[in-house]
Symmetry: C2
Subunit: 102 residues, 2 copies
C-alpha cells in the first residue's frame, strides 16, 4: 500500500519574467487552504492524505496545476470552491472531478 | 497513461531548529544532479521522467527522502552513487532498488 492514500502536489513555481506560472494564481494560499481543510477533517497523515508544495511541475500553460498521486490525476483550479470540490469529491470520495481535469 | 512515466519528488525541507530534515543532507545538490543526469540521457519531459523539488514529505526521520510516482516507491540516499543507482535501475530499467527503499 502507498504511504499516503492520496499525495497531492501544488505547483508553487514563480517566474519573474512575466510568463505563465502557477505562483501568480494564489497557489500558495490555495495549498495552505487545502492543507488546513484536510487537517481539520482529520484526514492528514500516513495512510491518509498529504498536501504538499512542489517546484515547477512543468505544466504552467495549463495551470495553476496540482497533481494527485498515486492516481496521477491532474487538475487546475481558480478559487476555493474548486479546491473544495477536489477535496470533497476526489480526496474524500475517490471520484475524479472531470470538470477541473487537465 | 500518466503524464510522466516516473515523477520523482525530492524533499527539500530545511528545519532551522536543528531537528532532522532532508535539507541538511545535500538534498538540493542531489536533486539538481539527478535532474541534470536525466536531461543528459534525453529522458526528461512528458511521457518520460520529471525530477521535482518538493516541500516537506513528512518522513524526515527516515530521510533524506525521495518518492517516485505513480509507483509510490520511497527511497533514501547518501551520495551520488545512490542517486545513480535509483536513476539507472529504477527510472531507466523499472526495477526497484530494495537496498535504498524506506
Amino acid at each position: 500500500m502507498s504511504h499516503y492514500q492520496h499525495h497531492v502536489f501544488f505547483c508553487m513555481n514563480v517566474r519573474e519574467d512575466g510568463t505563465a506560472c502557477c505562483g501568480h494564481h494564489d497557489a500558495a494560499e490555495m495549498q495552505q487552504y487545502a492543507k488546513s481543510r484536510i487537517k481539520q477533517m482529520g484526514l492528514a497523515g500516513e495512510g491518509k492524505i498529504r498536501i504538499n508544495k512542489s517546484g515547477c511541475l512543468d505544466r504552467c500553460d495549463e495551470g495553476p496545476c496540482v497533481v494527485v498521486y498515486p492516481e496521477g490525476v491532474w487538475y487546475t483550479y481558480v478559487d476555493r470552491q474548486d479546491i473544495d470540490e477536489i477535496v470533497d469529491t476526489h480526496l474524500v470520495k475517490g471520484e475524479v472531478v472531470e470538470r477541473l481535469r487537465i
